[in-house]
């Protein structure tokens, strides 16, 4: 049996699919989740059933009602012990990785994390490919254990497996024993996110370098950043020229960011800078030099002077704000 560990309210589709691909022809795929006395699991069972998972084991205990890594890991180890699966999978999110690591430690089993490819052979060894160093490297590894444990990365390859008929997922209550001292690592409080913007956490960073030309040149960047709900950053050239304070610097010797949108204005993108912004989801480069590294590596590139491009962008934003209908029609063309 292959066991899928569900640590969140939703189940990524690839999780049961990968488990299925690793399972033998007649080998069932089952799931486990955690809950307190009142935790509702019906919706989850329906979703899992849709993925061909036959059973959902609910490890139920008062200490498991809110997230508690040690207690959940302890419960998972007990479930593994009881059900005797040949392989256990979780998604590589914060909770999945943590709970599996706790279970692996307790069961004295190895664990392969962040896998993007998994294949099993006859003797039960898994041949996995896992990501390293934030994805710039792949590691091929062998996982050999009585029970193989792995977490799968969002980018996992989902092998072609025969479509599983959607079926009923049976909910199996599974009372577990949790040592009371494990309450020590329960979440005791949830706080809604605050909105204070810092360079490290801002969703949008509008950053300027040599091409901005001087301290005064940052005014237009400030305006755009405010408009986009972001903050202003800069390159090392800008700090070294005294145009911006050091706390604004993005890069190896400044702050490493992972924004939704990074706008690099007049920044050539030397490695020193690139490593500070490369984790951003979308990077827009504006530079007079199309041969600059930033212009090659960015998601989008505009060739031109910052002081020509940014005022035009601001004007366009204002224009669309005044004429929302037009803006929408343009958006649909994208």
């Amino acid at each position: 049996m292959k066991l899928v560990v569900v640590t969140d309210a939703t189940v990524p589709a690839e999780l049961p699919a990968v488990a299925r691909s690793l399972a033998g022809r007649d080998e069932p795929v089952e799931a486990v989740t955690f809950g307190g006395a009142g935790t509702e699991t019906g919706d989850l069972a329906r979703v899992l059933g849709g993925h061909g998972v036959g059973r959902l084991h609910v490890a139920r205990h008062a200490l498991l009602d809110d997230y508690a890594p040690e207690a959940w890991g302890n419960a998972l180890a007990a479930v593994i012990d009881r059900l005797g699966p040949s392989g256990v999978l979780a998604s590589a999110g914060d909770r999945g990785a943590e709970v599996l690591a706790h279970a692996a430690a307790r069961a004295d089993l190895p664990l392969a994390t962040d896998c993007v490819r998994l294949a099993g052979d006859e003797d039960g060894t898994w041949h996995v490919t896992r990501t390293r160093s934030g994805g710039v490297l792949l590691e091929d590894a062998e996982l050999r254990a009585p029970v193989t444990l792995a977490t799968i990365a969002p980018a996992v390859e989902v092998p072609q497996v025969p479509l599983q008929p959607a079926g009923e997922c049976e909910v199996v209550e599974s009372a577990v024993d949790v040592p009371p001292e494990l309450a020590r690592t329960r979440v005791v409080e949830h706080v809604a996110s605050e909105t204070g913007l810092s360079l490290a956490t801002a969703p949008v960073v509008v950053s300027g370098g040599r091409g901005v030309g001087g301290a005064e040149g940052f005014a237009v960047l400030e305006e755009l950043a405010e408009r986009l709900g972001g903050v202003v950053g800069c390159s090392r050239v800008a700090t070294n020229n005294g145009w911006r304070p050091h706390r604004d610097q993005v890069g190896l010797t400044g702050t490493k960011i992972a924004a939704d949108l990074y706008i690099a204005c007049g920044i050539s993108g030397a490695t020193q800078h690139w490593v500070g912004c490369m984790d951003s989801a979308v990077i827009l480069a504006i530079n007079t030099d199309p041969e600059a590294p930033m212009m090659q590596r960015a998601t989008y590139a505009v060739e031109g002077d910052v002081h020509e491009v940014l005022p035009a962008v601001l004007a366009e934003i204002r224009r669309r704000a005044e004429e929302p209908a037009v803006a929408e029609s343009v958006e649909r063309q994208v």
Binding site: E139, T185, A192, T201, K256, Y300, E331, V334
Partner: protein, 251 residues
């Protein structure tokens, strides 16, 4: 408050990681080494806690003799002692790493706090701290980006999730893995570097048994990154730029 911070020597590379010809390892001939950003934050936090509450910071690493360089970096940041668990140049799997860390801790007095980075910057297995904590019978919380020691000997630790902040209240002694963002780590000062240079390191030799996860080889992912999409030149590119901003929901 006595704190032990576990750090790892990792290569610092640029846009592309050079590999040895046989793909067995990163080719480090032209690379410098560093400790990962999570671990820099761990050292910083330890130094701050100790300067606020008293005590001392011990940094511990598992690796080759050269990892002493990373211990000295942490000493230059303000840590007080260094312990090197010399396991030679072979990369260890996470189970063996945990064994080696435990060997390093064996002769150390029980710290109030055992800090780790959330995952090492290179291998990133993310499980050594948990294995060590379990073996030492310590509570462990992970992915922490905020922490405070309270008067009652407890630790308030927070972590960010998409839904908001989760708060833990953990009795000490405890183990914690921290994430970048916890603080802004300092750069080593000049006097700090000079002091660190002279510091004695305690060295422990250890040859742990390998665990069940064996690395076969490393490779670079196929470079399927598309080049930048050109949006045009000069002011004429503005509508295309704003389209993208709109698509991303920023305007």
């Amino acid at each position: 408050m006595d704190i032990v911070v576990c750090i790892k020597r990792v290569p610092a590379f640029g846009a592309q990681v050079p590999l040895t010809d046989d793909g067995s390892a990163v080719d480090t001939r032209h690379l410098g080494f560093t400790i990962g950003p999570h671990e820099e934050c761990a050292v910083e936090e330890a130094v701050r806690l100790v300067s606020a509450h008293g005590g001392r910071v011990t940094v511990l690493t598992v690796g080759p003799e050269e990892a002493g360089e990373q211990l000295r970096y942490a000493l230059a940041m303000g840590a007080h002692r260094g312990v090197l668990v010399d396991t030679g140049t072979t990369d260890l799997d996470p189970e063996a790493t945990a064994t080696a860390v435990l060997a390093g801790l064996a002769d150390e007095p029980e710290p109030d706090l055992l800090l780790f980075g959330d995952a090492s910057a290179d291998a990133g297995h993310g499980q050594v701290a948990i294995r060590v904590a379990l073996a030492r019978g310590l509570p462990v919380v992970g992915g922490i980006t905020g922490m405070d020691a309270d008067a009652g000997g407890g630790l308030r630790a927070t972590r960010e999730t998409p839904a908001g902040t989760e708060v833990f209240r953990v009795p000490m002694p405890a183990a914690v893995t921290v994430k970048e963002g916890l603080n802004l780590p300092r750069y080593p000062t000049l006097p700090g570097r000079l002091k660190a240079k002279k510091a004695e390191l305690r060295t422990v030799s250890c040859a742990p048994e390998p665990g069940g996860l064996r690395t076969v080889g490393l490779r670079r992912p196929a470079d399927d990154r598309a080049g930048a999409v050109p949006l045009g030149r000069g002011a004429a590119a503005a509508p295309a730029v704003v389209d993208i901003l709109a698509e991303l929901g920023k305007v």
